[in-house]
Amino acid sequence: MNAPAFAVRPRVDTDSSTVREPPGYVQSDRARGERREKDASSIAGDSTRRATSTSHAHDAAIELQRSKLRVRRAFAYAQSSVSSVGMMGFMMWMSGSSVQVFSIMVVFGGVAQTTRAILGSKATFEAFRDGDERANVAPARMMFVLVQLAGLLLALRKLNTMGLLPSHASDWVGGWKPPRSLERAFGGIELEF
């Protein structure tokens, strides 16, 4: 459930070399980065390589399509998290409200997973954008965060019903020292101990 593995590929870089990659080849981030650096240096060295083989307008249309596609993918991902949160809720419901290893694992898993998802949502959705300035993934991210937040609330509620949240007065009085009695009365010696 970390970074999505379905970034939109292949990506056409209009400003750099137009050599297409072989079908089915997925360029790794690192290789891509290295290539970009190489490209930059070659551009600086030789401007004649800037020649283009396809028309710009056509490319822009395709890019727009791809941006939309990226946003759609991001929304799809955000929507898919609803089912995962739902699944988590189901698991929590199934595990019952008694304090057991299984229910504790599920509930704490739920809290940890949703918190991590919310905190890591920026990176997650950056990956969807994949450097595309025009792809606006913020609404999708918002939706994702809301869904995860709902999941978190669900988990916390569950935690509360399990009695693991200090939400009652009884959770705060356990450490109180017993009161000291001011008076003391003693019986006769027949009340021996």
């Binding site: 409200s97 008694s98 304090v99 009695g163 200090p166 939400s167 009652h168 007065a169 009884s170 959770d171 705060w172 009085v173 356990g174 109180w176 020292k177 017993p178 009161p179 000291r180 009695s181 001011l182 008076e183 003391r184 009365a185 003693f186 019986g187 006769g188 010696i189 027949e190 009340l191 021996e192 101990f193």
Partner: protein, 992 residues
């Protein structure tokens, strides 16, 4: 393949370890007996010792027993029923019969074969009328056994137990006062010329103290005459009847008695019985040779014989100057004649054994005991032939050391050994019994603990060197250790027989370090200090029950010892723990402080002129221990006096109450400081109207040692219940036979906290109060079974119920300390929850376990009528046990309601042992939270270390660390080896 084999080995070892570690939680298993508990049987303070073959039959109030003369081991024992004692005993050694009178019971036992009862009957004629005027006796001849009990006489056939006749003397003598206390029954000549035999009974008027006699026809029990003497012959309180009769004479027997004014009186029993006359003054010669002592100097007489030598009438006369004399009565002349006399000093005293006949002669063994100081006692045993006065020295023995101090000699018994030799059984003031033959002490029986009524757990020293050589304990040898392992294994698979089981228990008791005489980090090793009312204090080790030291305070006029407690004296050694014993007489109290490690008396005993009816233990503002004693009239005494100023500061916080069973009321008193002298002021009275019955049970919280871990109790719904932890709650139960009314009241103000009535119930009620609950045991007459009820008190004040979470959170964040106090003068509204359950066993004693920090759930210890101890988890006695448990109840761990409290086989903590004549149970926490020490005492004693909530914080003390280490090493080696084997196999496969 060969390299992979260790994996299999490791697996086998792992399986073995798992099997070894899988222990059943809870009760003690049969093969674990002796690993955490000790049981010791006692025979009590022997009053009569009679020789029978190679054994001695001993009779104490509590038990009749037979002990081996070789090693003092007990062969058999018969104990008296509760509330009764063996008052009279007679033995027919030739036929192996022993007749015992205890209470209303007449019993004939086979003293040769295990003390089994041959027959039993009741000596009663009045159809179950309770007779207060006690006194029981037995007279046994070959054919007839005559029992006297509470004024009823019954003659039975000695062999079959068939009743020959019965007679009632309760109204035989017309007495204006409280009647006659009949004490002795014996046979003698009826007088006259026929020379027939009559049964005579001797007694005394309870009010006037005059001697009374009754003559009964020996054939049918018809009362020939019963009369009391004239008023001028009032007898001394403790005067015995010394009976003499002339063999073959037609004269009626004579009885020698001591009168209240210090004189001696001789009575013709026949004349006294028929005419109320025949009592005359007897003269007694001076004790020491030439010096003539007047009659006024006689301070007491002791009977020496029962029947063996009645014709001689041996008597010991004690004189005011401390000397004593063995005197025989010349029946023909009616005069007394001194056989031998002895001077007694402070260090040495003379003790005379009862007369024993050896052929024609009657012999008394005289034991001169001399204290050599430092707890050592020297005994010189001399046999004196009464008729001739010839004496022969049997031997000189010494006994005792600076720890196991010998207390003064109380009784001596002569045991025939060989053709004409004698050995001696000595019984000390502290009931210790020892067998002396020649110059050797053959064995010693520790009996001091059988007399204990006040027991506390004490501490052991940090360093056992105070015990010297005697403190050292031998550990198991290698062969014994192997034997222990073998037996443990056999026991685990239930393949041990009785002898092996005994051996296993013995080896277990010596295994490990549980018998060391120094304290341990877990507080498992403790001493048990047992104080008897007579003033013997004995310290025992809880590992094996051995005596660490003995001390005897009695004999110095301290009175009756009523209390024993841990104590910190003002100028004590910081590294030593002390204990305080408190004795009281009718007008004074004495405080004796002893060193818990050695029994040495610390400082001088201090006496205050106040009887101790109430003892108020207090910690002064300076943190010092002090005691206030108050007598029945409110006069106070303070110990130590130096704390008076500090005690005065907190005096207004102290009060005490009296539970007056006669007036059926509880009275409370305040202590006030009247310019330096403390006085008490009657503050309140709670009367129980007579139509609600009389007080049948009381209980209060222990003066100290209540460790409450949590003030609150959280039910499953997460609300908060605040326990009402008032230490001054007093439980009083009254019963009129048809119902039991229970009252909880505040001991400071007398305010009634709660009242409840149990219909169809009767007492006696046994109760225990602890933390915020009281539980009590009584009889339910409708269901005809015993019942236990529990009452739990909770503080139901508004400020308790309406706690706001945000405020609490805020307080927690800012770290506000809560340091609350409670006062009986501002009581909160209470919520009392109660519930009743049935329970099978009848209870005699109730106690509750206390743990070091109060986290462990307490267990209620029930001392049953069958003299065993049951541990009952408090959770079963929870008033909130639901009939239909909700999820919240389950979460809280409430046990579903059942009307009967379950007693599991493991609940019997005394397992197969019985603590005969159980008097009390004490508990003390070990330093390890889960462990609690329990000591049950009576005639016998039983100690166990129990874990009421299982052993949650430690491994078993006999956990096999060696096996665990070996297993771990084997597993590591196995893992490494198999890893290498697996790597090699992988490599091979890759190259294939």
């Amino acid at each position: 393949m060969a390299r992979a084999r260790p994996r299999g080995h490791a697996l086998a070892v792992a399986v073995a370890v798992t099997a070894a570690l899988a222990r059943a939680v809870g009760g003690i298993r049969v093969d674990r007996i002796g690993s955490r508990d000790i049981a010791r049987g006692r025979i009590g303070d022997a009053r009569v010792v009679a020789s029978l073959g190679g054994r001695a039959v001993t009779v104490s109030d509590d038990a009749i027993a037979s002990v081996s003369l070789v090693d003092g081991a007990r062969a058999w024992r018969v104990t008296a029923d509760d509330g009764e004692g063996f008052e009279g005993f007679a033995m027919d050694a030739a036929r192996g019969r022993g007749g015992a009178a205890s209470g209303r019971a007449a019993r004939m036992m086979d003293v040769v074969r295990g003390g089994t009862t041959t027959w039993e009957d009741v000596v009663d004629v009045g159809g179950g009328v309770e007779r207060a005027n006690g006194g029981a006796d037995v007279e046994m001849t070959r054919e007839t056994s005559t029992y006297l009990s509470r004024g009823a006489v019954a003659a039975f056939d000695s062999a079959s137990g068939e009743t020959k006749w019965r007679a009632d003397l309760t109204s035989a003598v017309s007495s204006a006062g409280m009647g006659v206390r009949w004490e002795r029954v014996f046979y003698g000549s009826c007088g006259g010329t026929k020379g027939s035999t009559c049964a005579f009974v001797l007694g005394r008027d309870v009010e006037l103290g005059t001697p009374c006699a009754a003559e009964l026809d020996a054939s049918d029990g018809g009362v020939v005459g019963a009369k009391c003497a004239a008023n001028k012959w009032a007898l001394a309180e403790d005067s015995p009847f010394v009976i003499t009769r002339e063999v073959g004479s037609s004269k009626t027997p004579r009885a020698l008695m001591m009168t209240r004014d210090g004189g001696l009186a001789m009575a013709d029993v026949g004349a006294l019985a028929t005419r109320g006359k025949g009592v005359s003054a007897a003269s007694v010669p001076g004790a020491i040779g030439s010096r003539v002592t007047s009659i006024e100097d006689v301070i007491g007489i002791d009977v020496l014989s029962r029947d063996a030598a009645m014709s001689i009438g041996g008597v010991v006369v004690r004189y005011a100057d401390g000397s004593s004399a063995l005197v025989k009565t010349d029946v023909a002349k009616g005069a007394l004649e001194i056989v031998v006399s002895h001077d007694n000093t402070d260090d040495s005293r003379t003790t005379y054994s009862p007369l024993v006949s050896s052929g024609e002669k009657s012999v008394v063994v005289v034991v001169r005991s001399t204290s050599l100081g430092n707890g050592v006692m020297r005994y010189k045993h001399v046999a004196v032939t009464v008729s001739s006065g010839v004496s022969s020295v049997l031997g000189v023995t010494t006994r005792g050391d600076h720890l196991k101090r010998s207390s003064p000699l109380r009784r001596a018994f002569a045991i025939p050994r060989g053709a004409s030799g004698w050995a001696t059984i000595l019984v000390d003031e502290d009931a210790t019994m020892s067998f002396h033959e020649g110059d050797v002490v053959v064995w010693t029986r520790e009996e001091a603990s059988s007399q204990a009524e006040h027991v506390v757990f004490g501490s052991l020293p940090v360093d056992e060197s105070v015990y010297g050589e005697t403190g050292a304990t031998e550990s198991l040898s290698l062969s014994e250790r192997l034997e222990l392992q073998k037996l443990m294994l056999k026991a685990r698979f239930q393949r041990v027989n009785k002898a092996e089981m005994k051996r296993l228990a013995e080896l277990r008791s010596r295994a490990g370090n549980r018998n060391l005489a120094r304290r341990d980090v877990n507080g498992f090793r403790k001493s048990i200090l047992a104080l008897s009312p007579r003033g013997s204090l004995v310290a025992m080790h809880n590992g094996d029950g051995r005596t660490l030291w003995r001390q005897y305070f009695g004999g110095e006029g301290f009175g009756k010892f009523v209390r024993l407690m841990a104590w910190r004296p003002l100028s004590g050694d910081e590294s030593v723990e002390y204990a305080l014993a408190l004795a009281t007489t009718a007008d004074s109290s004495t405080f004796v402080v002893v060193n818990q490690y050695t029994g040495d008396i610390f400082g001088e005993p201090v006496t205050v002129r106040t009887r101790a009816a109430h003892v108020l233990p207090i910690k002064t503002s300076g943190g010092r221990d002090a005691l206030i004693v108050v007598d029945g009239e409110g006069k106070t005494g303070l110990y130590p006096e130096a704390t008076r100023a500090e005690v005065a500061v907190g005096l207004h916080r102290l009060s005490y109450y009296t539970i007056d069973r006669n007036a059926n009321e509880v009275r409370g008193y305040k202590l006030i400081d009247e310019s330096g002298s403390f006085d008490s002021l009657h503050a309140w009275t709670v009367s129980f109207p007579s139509d609600t019955g009389s007080i049948v049970g009381v209980a209060a919280k222990p003066p100290s040692g209540e460790n409450v871990h949590s003030w609150t109790r959280i039910p499953g719904d997460r609300s908060t219940l605040f326990k009402y932890l008032n230490p001054n709650v007093v439980f009083v139960a009254t019963s009129d036979g048809a119902s039991v009314r229970v009252t909880l009241l505040d001991g400071v103000t007398g305010r009634i906290l709660y009242r409840v009535r149990h219909g169809d119930a009767r007492g006696p009620v046994h109760a225990v109060a602890y933390e915020n609950w009281v539980t009590y045991h009584y009889f339910n007459t409708r269901a005809r079974r015993y019942a236990m009820s529990v009452l739990e008190m909770f503080d139901d004040g508004d400020d308790r119920r309406r706690l706001e979470v945000k405020k609490l959170v805020y307080d927690a964040i800012v770290g506000r300390e809560r340091n609350e106090t409670s006062s009986s003068h501002s009581p909160p509204p209470l919520r009392v929850i109660g519930q009743s359950y049935f329970i099978r066993p009848e209870a005699k004693v109730l106690a509750v376990t206390r743990s070091a920090r109060g986290i462990t759930e307490p267990a209620i210890l029930i001392g049953t009528a069958s003299d065993q101890v049951i541990s009952l988890d408090k959770r079963f006695l929870d008033p909130r046990r639901p009939t239909k448990p909700t999820a919240a109840d389950n979460e809280e761990g409430l046990i579903p309601y059942a009307e009967v409290l379950p007693i599991f086989p493991q609940s019997w903590i005394t397992h197969r042992e019985v603590v005969k004549r159980l008097r009390g149970i004490i508990t003390a926490p070990a330093d390890l939270e889960s462990n609690v020490h329990v000591f049950a005492y009576g005639l016998d004693m039983f100690y166990a270390r129990i874990t009421p909530s299982a052993s949650f914080d430690a491994l078993d003390d006999d956990f096999n660390f060696a096996l665990l280490s070996v297993t771990l090493i084997a597993l590591v080696v196995g893992a490494v080896v198999s890893k290498r084997a697996a790597d090699a196999a992988e490599e091979n496969r890759a190259w294939r």
